[in-house]
Symmetry: D2
Subunit: 353 residues, 4 copies
């Protein structure tokens, strides 16, 4: 049994990690930390986990005591806080899956620009692996530090990677627009007026236009896939629902592309790219992704629509932001790192409705 | 033009008062206070009021400066805070509509028992009028202090007053059970985890079983209507919606009642009692109240169902907790106090859906 | 591998059965019928089941062909339709779990009174077992026909059975009032205006007051537990959420009861009664059930509150109407009938939020 | 008093028209038709209108009897059905505000292409006026046939008209992408599975990608404003809420534009363009439109965001699809046609939350 710890386990991502890991056959949760909730029973904050988490109590994070309690640490800590803890855990020989943004951006200067703080461990940045299995499975297998991707980036990158990874350029990489719609759980569990029920319910709005911190993360991975620098337009929106991200992605076909817009090979590029992936479902032509069909699962559903009137493509992806966009991806990464079956602990399909 | 002030105007009730009063033809809002939001534009907290509240800024409550700014004060302050301000305003010759609970309970000892604080102005308690127009219209007309009713009590009292006011007892007053379902806005606008979108959405739960502070208020008014001491069972529930209270009320018919349970006169008691009321709609037999049909209005919809198998009645009422249960009732009270048309400022019917 | 068929698999209960059974290690789904959707891929109606149900197509119900395709039949057919199919399957030696109401009421006359149609197989009624494992585990083990309980009855019966099963009477059995709040999925998947999004959203209402067909079912089982005839008051309500039933149950303590209302033994009665039950969670004193904590699970959460002012008890239960109230209970029954681990296929805990 | 009739009054748009017109001081509703609901009381379908619509009953549409009952007809009939009725009403000398799409598209061939039916009254098409007051106030004043705009087009056209109406081209008209998010009421009131509560709740999805019928309508009006042919990309999405459309519009600045992207004059173009409009609110720089702030009102809120990294603009608009996008616009058009105050009947601000 692998001993795992969750640091920062009182939020929605921590709760989902707890739920998944407590039901995982090869894992034992030995420590859950939460500063403000230290001393409280886990079931007090997550009453849905009664009968499975009755033995667990939130503890404060005391590094010296914590470090020997587990072999793998999941960090659900705020950005900036993670930096040093990852460093210390790594130094102590522990493996880490960091769900913050601290080890996602490879360029310290880009991190500093978007997060307004320097990165103090640039050397470690190089060792960390971006934890998107569909792109970095091999590297994850050997990784000691996995930087778990952001929720919006997962939905954007999986929607574009197949096209950008083609040898001959397919799309106009300057034309990418990602219009994303997220459920409210993406905003976290801390009390905050904009995410109160009566503020978010019956309400749709954009936010952080041109300034959202997931922008450089998306650009880094798209650039890497395309082997050229890509700048995108990314607009997040808040939807009145608990979970889910739907990303509607607009791209122009490259003018001299070998494809015509209605070429069915465009669809096949996706089918081929994800043929062996356990958690990506490329829909049939004409089918629409729906956040409800992936809710509670680790799936990413993808569909590609040709826009013949404008010689462009509209790609739509749907994920559960807390699973494929956070805790599910983290467990998937763990499974890969430790050689477990990739779907272990992630098999349940979504209740409907 | 009547000059009115709103103290504590940054919450949902304050916002509704602002909306109603800014559109009221006989009223001018001269002051809106809010401690933490002092200095902010009203439209920053209520963007829906752009174009009508652009001239208003939240001010801190400075009694000396405030007192001469208006003739009528609406107080949306926390319980306990209101006590003294009402006293001082009254002393200064101002009229007050107090939306807190501080002047609702006539017995200081009952107030102290349920609110854990003494009442320092028992003399003033006697002068204040319980602001439920359907029961106290005459008194409100002459009142200088109106204690605006709580939201649950409105839904409960209006559902039972017709039966309890009959000369010969109709129902077993010991049998009253009020099972109420409220939208989330009843919990106010202050950030608090249980009322975050992701906590309250897709969730139904009871709370404050046997301990809710509206219990003594309901009992006071039912007892007054029945001219005997009544104790009730009252259970509030939280529903995943913005607004509305549905109260399902269970009462046994008195054993020696002059009515049989299917007597259509029971329905007529309600029709007669509310025949001239502008804001009560007694539904036809067989029709069901629905919070959606009163949302955004000052109406209380009421239906009475005979339960022949158990010789009991099931009475269902629906109100909008922020209007008939708070701000709408307050404006109604103002209209009565100042001799305006009772429906002035309260005419709009509800958008559907 | 047990071969199972689902008849009437295109609704919400059918979908949940599919999801559970397709992930069940000891079961193979060999047939799914649906009249109007015959010929359609299962994933067309349940896109969330892509990757696990890709091989399944809805078929029309052709008894002769169907009968040999499976050993156990789950029937999600309309009331009245089930009667004859159960009879024929039973005659052919098949086992049946019937999710309709056709074999729940033991008295044909009661069935006829509430369902407006005679029961043509009264002999078979006697052989069928009411499929509530907490009360009939032994009988289910040997049953050939299991009548799966209605959703509201599960929430009501589990809340009252411990008290009613005591040797000395604890409660006044004439005083039972059950006020239930259900999510919209209880109304099924057929298009119908009252359950359209814009009608049910932001809306709370009671319905079927004194006439709901689950009334006699609840009364039958409470009477059986108490060994005396019991008539109840039952009021269902519609809540704006997908799933879940919260039942708030009011009962008076018997006047000469051996318990005083604050006796902690009342709580212990529940703990003891359900001590070994895998799917009932008796909450600690002071904790409140919440439908969100049982959503997506087969749990029933129960809490008991003493109402000292009225010498009564308020019992609150929460279930997921499609699982513990339908498909989950059906799989639980199957597990018992075939000697599988009772929690097999029902282990996953609920995603939150 | 102007006598008005509503044909097709049982849907959401009809209901909103009823609500607005019954409260309008210069109007008397003399006829409401509805085929399937003929004979039913208006309040049966719209219980929120009890006390104001008690005298109205739905009637079947009998042209001969209907034509003399009113001077102005609001048609909320299905596309294609409106064509002939408009013709006949016009011939009879009546004025018409048609809320269908039948008289919006000026080119019969475009109508036929997108609606799969010929237009039989092309001469009348020329006489009809596109009922968007911000662009066609003068023409509406004299119009006998007003084609009330579609909901999505209102949100798109108002967001782009200021830029496209500039003398020198500001934006690359080939680059326009409109990503719209709509509440469920846009789908109408007829029972249909995709819009059942449990299907649409907790769900976000795109639909009708590249094929939505509002596309040619948007293109017609943008082309007209820009005085050149414009083709756009338009993607509608369904959001889990009752009302509201948020449109996020992406446009590139023209390469040789006289503006740099951060030029504050871009914002001023909007302020100036809508300076005298009673129902358009151009937000301050940095403020975000939110559907909740316009819910229940006839406002369109607009904000413009410069995207310096991509030399493009992101324009966000918010409307209530049933008011500014349907019934509110229709009443606004009536007010203009008959010389009433433009805001008459449309003054109420939105309840919040």
């Amino acid at each position: 049994m692998l001993k795992v710890a969750i640091a920062g386990g009182s939020g929605y991502t921590g709760g989902e990690l707890l739920r998944l890991l407590l039901q995982h056959p090869h894992v034992k949760v030995t420590l859950v930390t939460a500063e403000r909730s230290a001393g409280k029973a886990v079931t007090e904050l997550f009453p849905g986990l009664r009968k499975i988490a009755d033995h667990l109590t939130f503890e404060p994070m005391d590094f010296k005591k914590a470090v020997n309690r587990a072999d793998l640490f999941f960090l659900c800590l705020p950005h900036k806080t993670s930096q040093e803890i990852v460093f210390n855990l790594h130094k102590a020989g522990k493996k880490v899956i960091d769900l913050s943004a601290d080890y996602r951006l490879k360029e310290p200067s880009v991190y500093e620009e978007w997060y307004n703080t320097p990165h103090f461990y640039p050397a470690l940045l190089k060792k960390s692996v971006y934890g998107l299995p569909e792109l970095y499975r091999k590297e994850i297998k050997k990784a000691k530090i996995v930087a778990n991707p952001g929720c919006y980036p997962v939905s954007a990158i999986l929607g574009l990677a197949p096209l950008l990874s083609q040898k001959a350029e397919v799309i106009d990489t300057d034309s990418i627009i990602i219009d994303s719609k997220s459920g409210v759980s993406g905003a976290g569990r801390n009390p905050s007026q904009p995410f109160m029920f009566c503020e978010a319910n019956e309400s749709v709005r954009a936010y952080a236009i041109t300034t959202h911190r997931h922008t450089p993360e998306i650009e880094q991975e798209l650039s890497s896939a395309a082997k050229k620098k890509i700048q995108i337009t990314f607009t997040p929106h808040l939807m009145p629902m608990d979970r889910g991200i739907l990303s509607t992605i607009y791209v122009k076909l490259k003018k001299d592309s070998r494809f015509k817009i209605q070429d069915s090979r465009l669809h096949k590029i996706y089918q081929k790219f994800y043929a062996k992936e356990p958690f990506v479902r490329v829909l049939k032509e004409g089918e629409y992704p729906n956040t409800k069909a992936v809710k509670g699962t680790n799936f990413c559903d993808i569909a590609v629509f040709p826009n013949t009137r404008k010689n462009s493509l509209i790609i739509v992806t749907a994920i559960d932001n807390l699973l494929k966009g956070a805790a599910g991806a983290a467990v998937h990464n763990m499974n890969i790192m430790y050689g477990f079956d990739e779907t272990e602990g992630l098999k349940p399909f979504a209740p409907f409705p």
